[in-house]
Each structure stands twice: as C-alpha cells, then as structure tokens.
Point group: C2
Chain length 155, copies 2
Amino acid sequence: MAVETTKSSLQLQGVRLTRQRKILLDLIDKSGKHLDAESLYQLARLQDPKLNRVTVYRTLKMLKVGGLVDELDLMHHSGDQHYYETRMKREHAHIICLRCGKVEEFFGEPLLQIRKQVEEMFGFQILLTRTEIGGYCATCQPQRAQELDEAAVGA
Amino acid sequence: MAVETTKSSLQLQGVRLTRQRKILLDLIDKSGKHLDAESLYQLARLQDPKLNRVTVYRTLKMLKVGGLVDELDLMHHSGDQHYYETRMKREHAHIICLRCGKVEEFFGEPLLQIRKQVEEMFGFQILLTRTEIGGYCATCQPQRAQELDEAAVGA
DNA sequence: GTTAGTGCAAACCTTTTGCAGCTCT
DNA sequence: AGAGCTGCAAAAGGTTTGCACTAAC
C-alpha cells in the first residue's frame, strides 16, 4: 500500500516508473529497515542481475530529495555508508548498540517538544530531523564489561 | 584551560604529547566549532607546514575514541566529511540551515528527557548522542520561497 | 633505549559524473 | 518522438593502512 502510494506520487511528478525503480522501491519498503546502498544493490541484483550500483545511488538520491526516504548514519557503526528508511509518519530516534549493532527505535513525547521549541525559539522551518543514540544495549553491557576486564588483564 | 586538562588526561593514559598533537589540540579547542578534518589540516599547516593530513585523521580518531571530541555530520550539508567539536558538558542539538549552512545550537530540557527515557525503557547505556535538525533558518525562508518561485517560472 | 607517533605513498570505500545507448510515456 | 533513465567506465572525495624513519618519555 505504501509502495503504491509512493509510486503514484512519483508518477504525478513526471518521474518514470522503470523496472529498476519498481524493484528498488519494493525492496526499500518491504525488507525491514536500515538498508545501505550496497545491501540494497545486492538484494536488487537477485531480481535483476544487470541492475547497476549507480542506479541504486541515483534512485536513493531521488527518493531522498523527494522526501520519500530518510537518510541515516546510525553513528557510523559499521563504516561510513548511509542507511535508508521510508519516511515514517511518526518522528523517532535511533538507538544503536555499538557492540552488536542492533538498532532500536524510540518514539517519544520529547522528540516533538524539541521540534516545537526549535521552531518557536529560532523561527526555524524544520524539514528533517535525526536523533541517534549510541551506547550499549542491555544484552551487551555485561559482555562489554567482561571484554574490558580481559583487556586489562592482557595489558 | 580545557586544553590543559585534556593534555593532562591524555598523558596519564600514556599518550605522547607531540608537537603535532599540541597544535591540533589547541586548534580544536580554540578556533570556534565544527571544524572538519581538512579545515583543521589547513589551519595546522600554518603553524607546521610539514604536518601531514594523516596525522590529523589519526589524532581526531584518537580523540573521538577517547571521548574527548564528538563527531558530527551536520546533515552532510556540504559533503560527506565529518565535523568535530570538543565534548561539552551540556547536551545540545545542532540546527543546520540547508540554504546558508549556518549552525545553531539548541540546549533544552527535552534532550535530557530523551536520554532518561531511553535509559529507563531500554536499559540502554548511553555513550553518545547526536541530534541534528535540518531546514531553513529565519533569514533564509523568504529567500528560499523566492527561489522556488523563480524555478517554477523558469520551468 | 623503547615504544609510540609521524610522514609518505598507496590503497580503500562510498558515492558521483560523463556519455552513449536504451526505454518509458 | 523525445525526454528521462540506465549501464559502463572512470573519477572524485574522504579516510585508512603499511612501512621505514623519528621523536617523546
């Protein structure tokens, strides 16, 4: 449904719905979240082996400029690539575990308050926001402590 | 003062205070905020023409890992480089004008609330946070509107 | 004297660009 | 038909690595 909406809105703007774009749009919308360009490319190639990496980058840029996807960094947890997610109705923060890489999403009142305050205090017109929180998840905290111990002993 | 503290804390960890690092540390601390590696390199070269770009990257990485500076993306407003600022006591968000590039800082209650809620709800151990807000500043909004008009006429 | 740090060159990774040919509408 | 899009190759931009030499402690 969301994909179909996106497709329609693109077509209205005179954007052509090519075979490649259909594949990419479906992938972005369906296959969970936080794909980077390379992963998307690999997935797309399964459906169309001739599809080029450059087309992935061009499509992502178009969607980003058009405000249909958001670009994330996820604290550069595993390199300097960017991640993409379809733009959601609800504003949310990303919580990234720096040990296991797991990404959680936080939806909360304070996010809206920040937005409101910034608009009011600065007369700023907000187009996009990005809140990223890095640290260790509940699962990784004990393991991290142990790794630190081991490192201390080893030294 | 902050620089001296930093220097001491580094020395305690067995980090050597080389001529190059002194220059870079001073620059990062003094020369305003939001320098990227290349700018820092250019500034450092004025003081030591032999100082290498690689040393800048290595120093920044050390400071980042050591939690002495924070790395920012500033919405990739002008490329994919990273920006650095000395880690401040107070948590703050960065507000980036996508037209003129001006960066404002927002200190506010809601930032602390997010932190608290994330810690409580997820049992997450927060090490670093990054909140970036992109849009148009009060000055640029009318000019942006005009540019859009012109583009529409031109098309 | 050791060990950490530097400079240099070269590699690396991610992303963008130029251009000829193809394809959606 | 014609603008828009794709693939290919090549380049760009930012950052990292290997290694021999140098300097801080």
